[in-house]
Chain length 449, copies 2
């Protein structure tokens, strides 16, 4: 429990590697959980990490590889030959194996697959590679325990003991008919507590949740969360049981999705981490900044169009960052709420009801902020009509920004585009420039310049 | 699998309620999963929902209540008396029961607890109520299967069958010594495959991950994810096994944390959803908008201080929204990356290394954006010195914003404050105003006004 990655530990391992003290290294590393070894390897140089992967048995290293950073793992695999990779693959569950193989280049992929000795394992992996990685087929593993509905409980226990050797964790035992169609499930607990003379057909639970191979990952995650499932069986087009997805894979999936949405809202378009390279970070961040730049240049253009007002109402121009900030902030708030609601499938109100709600909310917020600005105007003895202009503009801009922030994600979602793209810089930039435009039109109307 | 919440279904249930056709309602609802019934109840009026809760048996409704929206559940519980609530509690696992009871007002709480007939259940709940809801103690349930290390495998099977009745899902069997101290674990699979004459002491796994009652929820989530655990035992100060946390509770916890961070980044300070009330939404959103307003007024103040430059360099003032947008966007990007890194415990670089990285990144991005502005200046025949001023300002402001966005969260985190607060409006507003200030100082220096 108390594992901590210290510089001391890394130094020690590095010196053991340098001195080729393999025996000691092995004994030392055996004490650690594979997830801890993965953390150590992520910190070592590529050569040192490869050294350890080669040193340890593939039963241990296959799990270590799975827990490593994708980038670091890819580099290590690049150092290994096809036979070595196949040995690692041999020890992995089919879903992990398929993930790893799909990361390899085409020619290495074929070589690795042909080097897998367990032909059934290889076939299972090849089957999984067919599916989109974000579909149930791409997320599932072939390892599961299935029994025939016609078997007896005792026969089932024996059979299950054999099958269980390949399955790390037994969540459910799936019941199929003679054609392999999924009929129901049985928990290990049910099996243990059932009378040994009973037939499976008498004791299994007929009501079983399942997904098919083409169900999108988001939907699998939603179903598993909603019904608190620890594993879900996957069927093919004919209803035949072909795999199962476990909750730990879905946990990773949910986390990645949440992180992606979060980064999108912050204007980061690729999956980067604090320790990604400068080049990766630039590629993820610069495009959004350029978008913001064009928005800002648009605002310059708008203001140039109104520069006749500059002489008499210079104060109006000082308020443009405030107007832009209000429009931007409200847009991000509204879009974030909608994007999250869409992700959780909890946006149930009708469009009209939602529209009315956003408008009412904006009127409340806009009025409060408008009054504050008028108060500020009084304190700083601003011309009253100018204060009124700014207050009315804030109110209008907030209503506009809230509507854009709400409806752009809804429309994108309806068209099958990820609505998360409409949070962050995209919505901020368009609201900035539209807000400033609206502001000057309102000012022109009221102040008559 | 194919449950869909339709208006038709809701209409049907509403009319059955109106006509008091209890028998039909019951038969109809029995077909649905409790999570589906919860969805229906969330859509019904409070009276109708209460009607159904009273109609169905508490073995079914306790699970329905757990799946409902917090707000809707609270209202229904407000309609029930202490005895009725106690009946629901009686059917719940201790962790769920404690969550529900902690939502009640103090006097109802005592009444409900005294109405629980199963005294051991009541005592367990009272014990759980002692812990902070975000600690391992607050997340754990008392339901678990434990066996003594001195028992035989056969005796253990019998004992386990008895205990298993109270436990919905058996993940692991925990092994304790005579004093109740956690010694190790045993999977159901291990138990089934062990020779029946063996003693538990010979077959259990001594290396068991655990947390103690005071471990924060974030740490529990991190450990369970890192080691792919489906359940983790919780020990007290003396190492005695007192509960276990299952992965489905942690899944909810992780999702809530991710949503909280996401909302914080979008300037939403309370846990709201798309269908929260206008008042709840206002309370969550308005404070951040007021913060933004003060930022904007600060910018007005800054610009008033430089208004002597207005006559000669009015164009400078048109660029303020652009400068503010750049500062804001960069700040949000940098802070989002750091906040996510801190949450994943993956910020391992030293402060100096991180500083160098952010500065290099900002120089690359700032130079690219600066060159674009100079290009824009050439096209629109802007005075060259003004273009240069703006380009240099963008570069400087981006560096500044990146440093603030990176270090404010790190500092907050070191002081034990949730760094997520430093994303979104907070960082945008302070960067807006500091950016505009820096911009005019740089302009003053270069253009000499």
């Amino acid at each position: 429990m108390a594992f901590e990655l210290t510089q001391e530990l890394i130094d020690k391992i590095e010196s053991l590697i340098e001195e080729n003290r393999d025996q000691q290294l092995q004994t030392h590393l055996e004490e650690y959980h594979h997830a801890d070894i993965a953390e150590v390897l992520d910190e070592l140089s590529l050569d040192d990490a490869t050294y350890i992967i080669r040193l340890l048995g593939s039963d241990q290293t296959s799990e270590v590889l799975m827990e490593m950073d994708d980038d670091d793992r890819e580099k290590i695999l690049g150092n290994l030959n096809a036979k070595e990779i196949a040995e690692e693959i041999e020890e992995m569950d089919t879903d992990d194996a398929a993930d790893i193989i799909s990361e390899l280049s085409e020619d290495i992929k074929t070589q690795v697959i042909s080097n897998i000795r367990d032909k059934e394992h290889a076939e299972n992996i090849v089957e999984l590679l067919k599916y989109d990685e974000n579909s149930a087929g791409g997320l599932m593993a072939k390892e599961l325990i299935k029994v025939n509905e016609n078997w007896s409980v005792t026969g089932c226990m024996t059979e299950m003991r054999n099958q269980a050797e390949n399955v790390t964790r037994v969540h459910s035992i799936y019941v199929v008919d003679n054609k392999g169609k999924l009929k129901g499930r049985l928990s290990l607990k049910d099996l243990i507590t059932a009378p040994s003379k009973a037939e499976i057909g008498d004791v299994y639970i007929r009501n079983v949740d399942y997904v098919d191979v083409h169900t999108p990952g988001e939907e699998v995650a939603r179903v598993m969360q909603k019904y608190d499932l620890e594993a879900i069986p996957v069927v093919d087009e004919f209803g035949r049981l072909v795999g199962r997805i476990t909750v730990d894979d879905i946990l990773d999936f949910i986390k990645e999705e949440a992180e992606k949405d979060y980064q999108m809202a912050a204007g980061i378009s690729e999956d980067v981490e604090a320790d990604s390279t400068i080049w990766e970070l630039t590629r993820a961040r610069l495009p959004w900044l350029i978008l913001g730049l064009f928005g800002g240049l648009g605002a310059v253009y708008v203001m140039q169009g109104f520069d006749s007002a500059l002489e008499k109402y210079e104060i109006l121009f000082f308020f443009t960052p405030l107007i832009a900030a209000m429009a931007g902030n409200v847009g991000v708030q509204s879009s974030a709420i909608i994007v999250q609601g869409l992700a959780n499938d909890s946006v149930k109100d009708s469009l009209v009801k939602r529209l009315l709600k956003e408008v009412s909310l904006s009127i409340i917020n806009g009025t409060a902020l408008g009054l504050l600005v008028i108060g500020f105007g009084v304190i700083t003895s601003m011309a009253f009509l100018v204060s009124i202009t700014i207050a009315i503009s804030i109110l209008s801009v907030i209503i506009m920004a809230a509507l854009i922030g709400t409806f752009v994600p809804i429309i994108l979602n309806k068209r099958g585009i990820d609505p998360a793209i409409a949070t962050g810089p995209f919505i901020t930039t368009s609201n900035d420039i539209l807000g400033i435009l609206a502001y000057f039109y309102i000012a022109k109307l009221i102040l008559n310049f």
